[in-house]
Structures are given as structure tokens and as C-alpha cells.
């Protein structure tokens, strides 16, 4: 059983979405020991002894995180299917503390697919959070 299936079907943490189930779309991205990984490309048993943070873990005390608030403000989602993967990916990039800008961000986000083609507001939302660090 993959980590994604374990999160969704056993723990009922359905915030993590499954699109392609073979590592292409990025919807299932979670943070494993703080690093963004595809939860469809890890068996649940491999995560034993490690910390897993899903999209449900981004909000604190029921309040959206700064990144989630920026996604709302910039309308960085349409259908919402890809959103958990973008949020966890962006959180990992922000946590790394590397400089993020219009030049490097599109490439860093290339592992996540949004079929509503809403990339621009996603980039704007992430850059806003990056600029306030």
C-alpha cells in the first residue's frame, strides 16, 4: 500500500489527492521529514519512523497558514484538485529558504500539474509569501 493510499483510505486524510498515481502529476506531494516527496511513489511502510506532514498539517489551530491565505487572496486555485500538491511543494520551497523569483519558480513548480492552467496566480501567491520572509 502506498503512503498516499494509507493517508487517504486508512487515516481518512483525504486532503492529499491522487491524480496519476505514478509520479507525474504531483497532486499527492507530502512532506517527509520536511522534504517534498510524491506519496504515490513511497510505500506506507517506508515512512515508518519518519515524520509525514500533509496539507492538513499546514494550518495551525484551525487558521490557514500564510501560504494558504495567499492562495485565497490571489485565487491561486480553480477546481482545487492540484492545490494540496502545490501547497506542500511551495511550503517545502519556502522552508528551504532559497531565493524564489519569477525566473526560477516556474521550473521548481514543473513537477506539479494544474489542468485549469492557473499557474500564474500560484506563482504570485508563493512570491508574495517569499517576499515577506
Amino acid at each position: 500500500m502506498t503512503l498516499a493510499d494509507f493517508l487517504r483510505d486508512r487515516l481518512r486524510l483525504t486532503g492529499t489527492h491522487l491524480g496519476c498515481e505514478h509520479g507525474v502529476c504531483g497532486a499527492c506531494t507530502v512532506l517527509l521529514d520536511g522534504e517534498a516527496v510524491r506519496s504515490c511513489l513511497i510505500f506506507a511502510v517506508q515512512a515508518a519512523g519518519h515524520q509525514v506532514r500533509t496539507v492538513e498539517g499546514l494550518a495551525k489551530g484551525g487558521e490557514p497558514s500564510p501560504l494558504q491565505r495567499a492562495f485565497l487572496k490571489h485565487r491561486a486555485l480553480q477546481c482545487g484538485f492540484c492545490t494540496p500538491g502545490f501547497l506542500t511543494t511551495a511550503q517545502a520551497l519556502l522552508d528551504r529558504g532559497l531565493p524564489l523569483d519569477r525566473a526560477n519558480l516556474p521550473e521548481l513548480l514543473a513537477g506539479n500539474i494544474c489542468r485549469c492552467t492557473g499557474y500564474q496566480p500560484i506563482v504570485e501567491a508563493i512570491l508574495e509569501v517569499a517576499s515577506t520572509r
Binding site: M1, H22, G26, A36, R38, C40, L41, F43, Q46, E107
Partner: protein, 254 residues
């Protein structure tokens, strides 16, 4: 899209891992970062009965200069590529998306041996030496050409593990080039090329064009095959241009 049932072991030492590989033989399969094997398993193209997860084998996690333990991740090498040939650093960002590089390992990529992958091409280009260990036979070290038998097919016996990859010291004054074309950054290459120029000796490799990475003296030798991603003629044409591009990067007259 669900893997067939399998037994799972996570050995704590190389000796224990080699025991498990010897015990399970053809039924067993080593699991490195899983970024190639897990997709094959969920698509049921691979159905190993036993997985031997190498994540906690300390002997495979180390890098000692140009000798890289099989379980060192692409992300770790991207963070610290010091002492490695610069063409490796140039190729690393092309190995999947960064989320894939966080898990994917050098040894896993070579043992999987996808013809479109970067590590097999780098191993061939740089004349890397691959160390293979098993419980019952002596350690052996193979060159990339001896190791790579065909697409997804290596010289690894069922009870053997690839434990380390050793690159030659990169000489000062060495020149190099690397280029590939993919639909998205991080996707599998549709064609790629890399070269080194050391002491006036030029070495060129193309990859993602055919069954295996191919060393060529001249682009006319490229043996391209087609699939649903790209026809053979396209791959050959793109690879030909990429060879020119990497030679120019290396300061050569293509």
C-alpha cells in the same frame, strides 16, 4: 494502480541485506529510492514477492570523494557536488523533478537502467566503475559498458547489490558539455547528449535515443528508436543538434 502484495524487509546492515538477497534470489528485489520501481509495481509491470529496502543500510549512504554509495540521493549530490566532475552537477537538475530527486538515488537509477535516464549516460561518458557485492561470491567491479546489457537490463545477478559508483578524478583543464530536451523540465528526456574533452581526447555520449546510452564518434552513428513520445527520426535529429551544442559548450568545433 495498486501493487501486488509483497513481503517487506528493511535490513540494518549490508551483510543483512546481502543475506536477504541471497535467500530470496529471483523472488527478491532491492528497493532504493523507489522512484522507478514503485511506478512499475503499481502498474504491475513488476511484481516482486519480496522487497529489500536499502534505506537503513549505513554502508550505502556514504560518499567518499568520487566514490558514491549507491543510496546517496540525487538531492544530496545536488546540494554538495564538490569533487565530482562538473558535468555531473550540470546533469543533476535534469534528473526528474526536485521532489523525485529527494528520493531517487544514483544506485537505484543505474540498477533500473532506463535508457532515458541521466546516470547511465554519465557513467558511460565518465567511465565510472560500478561495485557489485553478494554474499556468496566475491566482490566485482565493472565498467559501465560491462554493466549495461540492455534497456532495464544490467549485469547484476539476482543475489547481487550495486553498492557504489566510482568516478575518475576530474582533471583540471577538462572540458565538458551537457544538454537534453524534455517536454517539461524534469520529465524524461526525448533526447540528450553529453561530452568531455580531456587532454585533447573527445568523448561523446547520446542518451534517450535508443536501447542504451550510446557512445558516438560522429552523430551519423546515432541509433535512434521511436515510441509514442517521439519518432526515431525526431530523436536522431534532436540528438544530432544536441551533440553539436555540447561540443560548443566544451569549446570544441562540432
Amino acid at each position: 494502480m495498486k501493487a501486488a502484495p509483497f513481503a517487506y524487509h528493511r535490513p540494518r546492515s549490508l551483510a543483512e541485506a546481502l543475506d536477504l538477497m541471497a535467500e530470496h534470489g529471483e523472488e527478491g528485489k532491492a528497493l532504493a529510492g523507489g522512484q522507478s520501481l514503485v511506478p512499475l509495481m503499481v502498474l504491475r509491470l513488476a511484481q516482486p514477492a519480496v522487497l529489500v529496502d536499502l534505506a537503513d543500510v549505513p554502508e550505502l549512504q556514504h560518499r567518499d570523494g568520487t566514490r558514491i554509495g549507491a543510496m546517496v540521493t540525487n538531492a544530496a549530490l545536488e546540494r554538495d557536488g564538490s569533487g565530482l566532475p562538473p558535468v555531473v552537477a550540470a546533469a543533476l537538475p535534469h534528473i526528474g523533478h526536485f521532489q523525485i530527486r529527494n528520493r531517487g538515488t544514483i544506485g537505484g537509477s543505474l540498477a533500473h537502467l532506463d535508457p532515458a535516464a541521466e546516470w547511465p549516460a554519465l557513467a558511460l561518458l565518465l567511465e565510472a566503475r560500478l561495485t557489485l557485492r553478494s554474499r556468496d561470491r566475491s566482490e566485482r567491479t565493472l565498467g559501465a559498458e560491462e554493466f549495461m546489457l540492455g534497456p532495464l537490463t544490467t549485469a547484476l545477478a539476482a543475489d547481487e547489490l550495486l553498492t557504489a559508483v566510482t568516478f575518475p578524478e576530474w582533471p583540471s583543464g577538462g572540458r565538458w558539455g551537457f544538454a537534453e530536451v524534455a517536454r517539461r523540465p524534469g520529465d524524461f528526456a526525448l533526447a540528450g547528449a553529453a561530452c568531455t574533452v580531456v587532454g585533447g581526447r573527445r568523448r561523446v555520449v547520446v542518451f534517450a535515443t535508443g536501447a542504451l546510452p550510446q557512445r558516438v564518434e560522429d552523430p551519423s552513428e546515432i541509433e535512434a528508436t521511436g515510441d509514442l513520445h517521439a519518432p526515431a527520426a525526431y530523436r536522431a535529429a534532436v540528438a544530432t543538434r544536441l551533440v553539436e551544442r555540447v561540443l560548443i559548450q566544451a569549446g570544441e568545433q562540432p
